[in-house]
Symmetry: C2
Subunit: 321 residues, 2 copies
């Protein structure tokens, strides 16, 4: 009898769904904060994130289903024993985070944040010209579920979409052009919107360094979800102070959380949200996580582990498919 | 030889375009602020808005092409002599204002304004759950160019779109349902987004009064472009204080401009911009105004006045087609 530790906040409906698939398994519901080493020692399966350092004691673990899309903290050597299956929740966050990104695109372009600043000062003041998403060019760097969903929406709104991914592949219909990361330098000067949705990895760290920030079209907008270190913070501050960008909106920062005295808070045309685009802030995100877990549980118990969704490759930190 | 007074800020390229169509006409370029009664007395045609009270002296005027979509100030008796043709710039603003409305929808739903308030206080603070445009229901009240373009975009983003217009007509593809204004009370409780883009007229004044505001779904978002008096301001303040709405975003207010000491500035979940969604803030808007003026000029000079675009019916204040 498999023992399944569930750390996501499953309601009655979600428990019923999972327990039907895992009929005969023993379910134990807890939370990332409450889970103990004693419980983890007994786990065959874990559904939901657990502090990585606790996992060393999960000696019987066969499969960990994360509720996060990012999995880099779990790929480090010594966290999971060889042979343990790791799946992430890619696909659950695309809706919430891509809508956040679309919203951020308009927030920057229409200067809504400047108007809200004026409103707080009770100031009826025109902030001047804007641009449109229609007829813009959006450069989407990172084409996982999130980047893809963002590109689809921008395309539907009349933007010309260019995608950049790590490895070559077939161009989906919602992209007008598709390239690999090697072409980034040539693409940056063309884009009105540059949107980063990248996992944390050595190759994505500081992908937007000072040189690349300066390759952006003057007045263009930069958006970052995923990991704060995709942008070199000091370089960003520099180009913002120079007025190079039309605006920059990020849900992730480096350092994170951003300390109260950090200059990025008040940098010109900078918009910061505190890593809230994902999580369970949209209820549909949680529904999708439970569905991914349920479908994977069925395949795992059937022994069809190769068919499981979002299996993470420990070497690259990306999912295998 | 017709004399054409142009009060819109036409650049060289625009002048060349208009003068080619109006070959043989005399063009006089000025601005709404600089135009004099002496000049207006000589006008056969005016392209661009002029203070309505000045128009009484334009005794030779045959056609006025407005650069605004609203034309109510020009329909009052005594402003234009009977027989003068009036065309507005409907169609020029749909892009800019519908993008503003989409942006406002996300601003309210994703609470970006609250996060920007937090940012100004250097506060890294989670503001809780959000909703999505996907799978929402958008009620679009007023289906001119602006409302229609907004509905199209919301539909493309996965919203279920319900349109409300003054008169019955064929349902366009981008609407899931279409009704006339009589059905508004039944529709308000169904909508997550209620978006008003209405001209100023007795029938649209206070269309959202306290009773109708209370018919809205708790937590729904209200957006107003067009005219501030479509919403009863005191009633809005009341329901905002009660926390009935998820948020309200307006580009127009009543009174307008909003006085510094007005309570609406600081009402909970209220977002105010200072009538900036239109104007020429998007350069494409001006391009479209010039194109409408040029196409109408061609038809006017050809004597095909019935074919002119955006001819205003003085009785309803709406364009005839």
């Amino acid at each position: 009898m498999k023992k399944i530790i569930v750390t996501i906040p499953a309601g009655d409906r979600h428990r019923e769904y999972l327990e039907k698939i895992g009929a005969g398994c023993e379910f134990f519901y807890t939370s990332p904060a409450a889970v103990t080493e004693d419980i983890l020692r007994t786990a065959d399966i874990i559904i939901g994130n657990v502090a990585p350092k606790l996992l060393t004691c999960a000696q019987g673990l066969q499969w960990l289903q994360l509720n996060s899309a990012g999995s880099d903290n779990y790929c480090a050597p010594g966290i999971l024993r060889p042979g343990v299956l790791l799946t992430n929740a890619t696909g659950a966050y695309g809706l919430a985070i891509s809508e956040y990104m679309v919203g951020m695109s308009f927030l920057l372009q229409n200067r809504f944040y400047q108007y809200y600043g004026n409103q707080m000062a009770r100031r009826w003041k025109d902030q001047g010209p804007v641009t449109s998403v229609w007829d813009s060019t959006a450069l989407v760097v990172g084409l996982g579920d999130i980047g893809g969903e963002y590109a689809k929406r921008m395309k539907a709104l009349g933007s010309y979409t260019i995608g950049v991914r790590r490895t070559a592949g077939e161009k989906p219909e919602y992209l007008d052009e598709l390239y690999t990361t090697e072409s980034l330098d040539q693409l940056l000067p063309r884009a009105d919107f540059v949107a980063l949705s990248l996992p944390n990895s050595p190759s994505t760290r500081h992908i937007m360094d000072e040189r690349r920030l300066r390759l952006m079209k003057p007045g263009a907008y930069l958006i970052n979800v995923g990991r704060g270190n995709a942008i070199h913070t000091e370089a960003l501050l520099k180009v913002l102070e120079e007025g190079l960008l039309g605006g920059c909106g990020v849900d992730v920062t480096d350092p994170e959380p951003l300390p109260e005295n950090h200059p990025l808070w008040a940098a010109p045309r900078m918009v910061i949200t505190p890593h809230i685009s994902g999580q369970y802030h949209l209820s549909e995100t949680f529904e999708r996580i439970v569905r991914i877990a349920g479908e994977n549980l069925e395949k795992f118990l059937d022994g069809r582990t190769e068919e499981m969704r979002n299996l993470v490759d420990f070497e690259t930190g990306y999912r295998r498919r």
